[in-house]
């Protein structure tokens, strides 16, 4: 009897593992440095999370279908390279933004085409397009860094009703994504496809269409993330966007998205994961921790979170294990 109730308590705790981890991190940093709890700091964290956060939200769509998109960093790069060239060539900012988003859509559509029509695994397709995009971006930028005019920077510094634009974009993307996933038929069908794609097909769901959409969404978010990233550091270096996909996946997984599909949420899940990672980085910065240690600490935290999730699954399985009979009450 006691083991069962302690399991229940443990399960309840584990279900909120990410939240608890977040609280612990906040506590630790708050204790170690009072500067941490300044409101300006919170805003700062949110601004810096925006780019990765948008990337992670798009990635969540793909992960929900048990897929993966390893090319998002390359998409960011290509979109930024093209956008940079155009704006340096005199295009208007709004025109450039539209083109960049369009590139994200097209790139995502290409990924989707290979995955759905040619039936090649997402891992391989996006691996290959990652190579391709990286090469393309380097070709466009001629392997040199491009410094962009201030119009991008102004985008990053702009505030609407006192809220910095990057945060608004992030919030907007998250809101739309959340509504789509929870309130629209498409969203529920995404979860269905992730749970069992064959069953989804048999149930009459247009699985090809659903998969197509998720990769396009992911590409679009990648381009948007590129825009937000440029708004904070308006330069396109040859390593722009490099390896960003891994952080995006980590943020989503941290937020509870399962790599096997069918499980996860953008809010609070993925957003929390992205904010958590950035919070740690910012906190370490404030504490003047050796910057070489950042990746060690962050990956350590991710490992802890993933471990807790694995433990949670085990406890859940044990608690839900079919009981043939209930233990007799003491006579």
């Amino acid at each position: 009897m006691s083991s069962s109730s302690s399991s229940q308590l443990g399960l309840r705790l584990l279900n909120q593992a990410s939240l608890i981890l977040f609280a612990v991190v906040l506590l630790v940093f708050g204790v170690l440095s009072p500067a941490f709890f300044q409101p300006a700091n919170a805003v700062n964290i949110l601004i810096q999370t925006s780019s990765t956060g948008i990337l992670a939200v798009g990635m969540t769509f793909v992960l929900l279908t048990a897929g993966v998109d390893l090319s998002v960093g390359a998409i960011m790069f290509v979109a930024a390279a093209v956008g940079g060239k155009l704006i340096l060539g005199g295009w208007s900012l709004s025109g450039v933004l539209v083109v960049m988003l369009a590139i994200g859509v097209v790139y995502g559509a290409l990924n989707a085409l290979f995955i759905t029509r040619l039936a090649i695994m997402a891992f391989i397709v996006t691996l290959a397009t990652r190579y391709f995009g990286r090469g393309l971006g380097l070709r466009i930028t001629e392997t040199r860094a491009m410094n962009l005019p201030d119009s991008f920077y102004e985008l990053g510094a702009a505030r609407i009703l006192g809220v910095p634009l990057p945060i608004l974009i992030f919030a907007g993307v998250t809101l739309v994504a959340h509504l789509v996933l929870t309130r629209t038929p498409l969203g529920r069908q995404i979860y269905a496809v992730g749970a069992d794609v064959e069953a989804a097909r048999k149930a009459g769901i247009n699985t090809r269409g659903v998969l197509f959409v998720v990769y396009v969404v992911c590409g679009l978010c990648a381009a948007a993330a590129g825009i937000v990233s440029l708004s904070q550091a308006p330069a396109v270096s040859p390593s722009f966007g490099n390896n960003r996909e891994f952080m995006a996946i980590a943020a989503a997984v941290l937020g509870g998205t399962s790599l096997f599909g069918g499980r996860g949420a953008v809010f609070p899940g993925t957003v929390l994961g992205a904010v958590l990672i950035q919070t740690i980085e910012t906190g370490l910065n404030i504490l003047n921790v050796n910057s070489y240690l950042y990746p060690l600490i962050i990956s350590g935290v991710i490992f802890l979170a993933v471990l807790l999730d694995a433990v949670r699954s085990r406890v859940l399985a044990r608690v839900n294990r079919r009981r043939i009979f209930v233990e007799a009450e003491p006579t």
């Binding site: 290959a128 380097l138 891994f246 996946i249 980590a250 070489y292 240690l293």
Partner: protein, 316 residues
């Protein structure tokens, strides 16, 4: 023609055809010195690819292999370097360094194995996390610097191609025999096909899975020896951009990402093909970025062929 398409030697044929097709147009493609260049690129890649093949067959994945190569590289350098190494000039510097590099691979492999078997963390995210950690560790270890001054007896292992070839050949052959002829190898395939059925049938799945990740780490450590010796430098970012080369080559070679399917021979052909493509494009004077783009296209085409072949086989 159909038989060639369906045969397991498809990629080998492809490589030969590719070579024959490009040789007339590519200056120096068929020369002896170029052959050595190809070999220098191919050998270390093959070693790590073989290790990865084992993990893929069991249905897992190891994204940390290249970061293992980086960490082993700097650890070895730190021990052996005559400029700044801990055992600089010591008679046992090289053996100790070699031992250490292999142990780094084994150690990280054990961490991966532990995470996947005992902690039941999905391999993708477990090895992704390990990759981030180990990579950061390598960079921190040397504060982003490269380590030079490696003793000639060590460098010889990579620079003297015949030595590197022998090491690679032996390691590859051992992996092939293990996979194709031993009990352990059969168990790998069984677990890759259906881990639950394997467990019920008496396969010690946890131990075999753990051992596979350790072996993968060991091979990565060995590859690091070849990489480091060949480049004569301990580099904390060694092979960082090669991860996808490795995975791509293994997949081209016919190993399935789902597990249960794959052969060392296939991986050899896959690495060969990728090396030929990489080398020929460089010789043709194409830019780095064009080479990258073409590589992406090649991996895609190979995957497409594999998908088509599977559909064909399933129907027949």
């Amino acid at each position: 023609m159909r038989r060639v398409f369906l045969s397991e030697y498809l990629v080998l044929w492809l490589s030969l055809v590719y070579f024959a097709a490009l040789a007339p147009f590519t200056p120096g493609f068929a020369s002896w010195s170029n052959f050595q260049t190809i070999l220098a690129y191919l050998l270390p890649l093959l070693v790590v690819a073989v290790g990865l093949t084992l993990v893929l067959i069991i249905g897992g994945i190891d994204l940390s292999v290249t970061s293992i190569i980086a960490l082993a590289s700097v650890v070895g350098g730190k021990i052996m370097s005559s400029e700044e190494g801990w055992l600089a000039g010591h008679a046992l510097a090289v053996p100790a360094g070699l031992m250490a590099m292999l142990l780094v691979g084994v150690g990280i492999g054990m961490i991966n194995g532990f995470a996947v078997t005992t902690c039941r963390i999905p391999a993708f995210i477990a090895t992704l996390t390990t990759m981030m950690f180990v990579s950061g560790l390598a960079i921190w270890f040397t504060l982003s610097r490269k380590i030079g001054g490696l003793p000639p007896s060590f460098v010889m292992l990579g620079q003297k191609l015949w030595i590197a070839a022998v090491i690679t050949g032996v390691a590859t052959w051992l992996a092939h025999v293990t996979l194709a002829r031993t009990l352990f190898g059969r168990w790998l395939y069984a677990i890759g096909h259906n881990a639950k059925a394997a467990l019920v049938s008496g396969v010690p799945t946890a131990r075999v899975t753990f051992a596979t990740y350790v072996l993968c780490g060991l091979f990565a450590g060995l590859a690091s020896i070849l990489f480091t010796a060949g480049l004569e430098t301990g580099n904390p970012e060694m092979a960082r951009d090669n991860l996808l080369d490795v995975v791509g080559a293994v997949v081209i070679g016919g190993t399935s990402l789902y597990g249960g399917r794959g052969r060392v021979v296939g991986t050899v052909f896959g690495v060969l093909f990728l090396a030929l493509v990489d080398n020929s494009l460089n010789l043709l004077g194409l830019n780095f970025y064009t080479v990258t783009m073409v590589k992406g296209g090649v991996i895609l085409a190979a995957a497409l062929l594999d998908a088509m072949r599977n559909k064909f086989l399933a129907r027949g």
